[in-house]
């Protein structure tokens, strides 16, 4: 299968590409944010980083990049879309998820490992995990505090859109939400960085299964 990684000015796409290509042997291509169309990809990834320097709001400007209309179309047709960290923020700004991202409650840039619980395994992104499985993934963010109204939280819970929760909610995310899918279950936003947990030499491999689940689902 072929992964497409969207690149915005300020994106951290390097590790995704390295992790997928070198560690998992996958076929990966770049999609420039100003491209109005792309084709030949089985899954699309929006990377972490600071697209547009987080100007205006994290992910706000990137959400209006020409490529995002095509990403919406790809998602509407059922294509899997993975938004990592800033990618999650971009997907939220584009309207895939309710709520907003606030500065971390600690007001600190959080750079470290977090323990997460896999709440839902029947998604293209978590199929290879067990329900209730605890995994460790690195975080690298300042605006990681997911905040959503009680009303929308109820909708997310009723739709089973919550896929990952923090075991220790250090940054004050509503409901300790660490990862969400859209109603259709094919668009996944995760604040942690699974691409930094592919190669064991970098400290952990718990992120591999997200990419391998995607691969498995499309074979």
């Amino acid at each position: 299968m072929r992964f497409g990684v969207v690149v915005f000015p300020g994106s951290d796409e390097r590790e995704i590409i390295d992790g997928l290509k070198e560690s998992l042997g996958e076929d990966v291509g770049y999609i420039w944010h100003r491209d109005e169309s792309f084709s030949g990809y089985d899954a699309v990834i929006l990377p972490g980083g600071s697209s547009f320097g987080h100007y205006l709001r994290p992910g706000a400007l990137a959400s209006h990049s020409p490529v995002m209309e095509k990403v919406v179309e790809f998602a509407k047709k059922g294509g899997p879309v993975l938004g990592i960290s800033n990618g999650f923020q971009i997907l939220l700004e584009k309207g895939f998820f309710p709520g907003t991202f606030l500065p971390n409650e600690s007001l600190q840039y959080r750079c470290g490992l977090s323990r997460l619980e896999v709440v839902r395994k029947d998604t293209p992104f978590t199929a290879l995990y067990e329900e209730g499985e605890e995994i460790t993934l690195p975080l690298a963010q300042r605006y990681g505090r997911y905040s959503v109204s009680a009303k929308d939280l109820e909708i997310l819970e009723n739709n089973r859109q919550i896929v990952l929760r923090y075991k220790k909610n250090l940054d004050g995310s509503t409901g300790a939400i660490a990862g969400l899918v859209n109603e259709n279950g094919n668009v996944f936003g995760i604040m942690a960085r699974p691409e930094r947990a592919i190669q064991g030499i970098l400290g952990g491999t718990d992120g591999r299964k997200i990419f391998l689940s995607l691969k498995g689902g499309l074979k």
């Binding site: 205006l56 709001r57 209006h64 709520g99 907003t100 500065p103």
Partner: protein
């Protein structure tokens, strides 16, 4: 014709402003104990080319609501004026 749209984007009341609070603490450290609260806002100034004030307003509001403002956290106010000397 040219119009100048000025938009002030502010956090809604009750939403915590880390930047403002950081500034306030610095002010206190500096001895400005009279500063009880600081809230920072964003001010955007946009030069619009439009056929009329109505046209400029319509575009200006679209820009404001679609791009500049996060309606979950922010409110805004604006002024719109024709730019002096732009009747040509």
């Amino acid at each position: 014709m040219e119009y100048i749209l000025k938009v002030v984007v502010a956090l809604k009341e009750g939403i915590f402003d880390p930047q403002g609070e950081g500034i306030r603490k610095t002010l206190v450290d500096m001895g400005f104990l009279q500063a009880k609260s600081v809230r920072m806002q964003k001010h955007a100034e946009i030069l619009l080319e439009a056929a009329s004030m109505e046209d400029a307003l319509r575009t200006g509001l679209l820009i404001t609501e679609k791009v500049l403002v996060n309606p979950v956290l922010e409110t805004y106010s604006y002024t719109l004026e024709q730019k002096e000397g732009s009747d040509r």
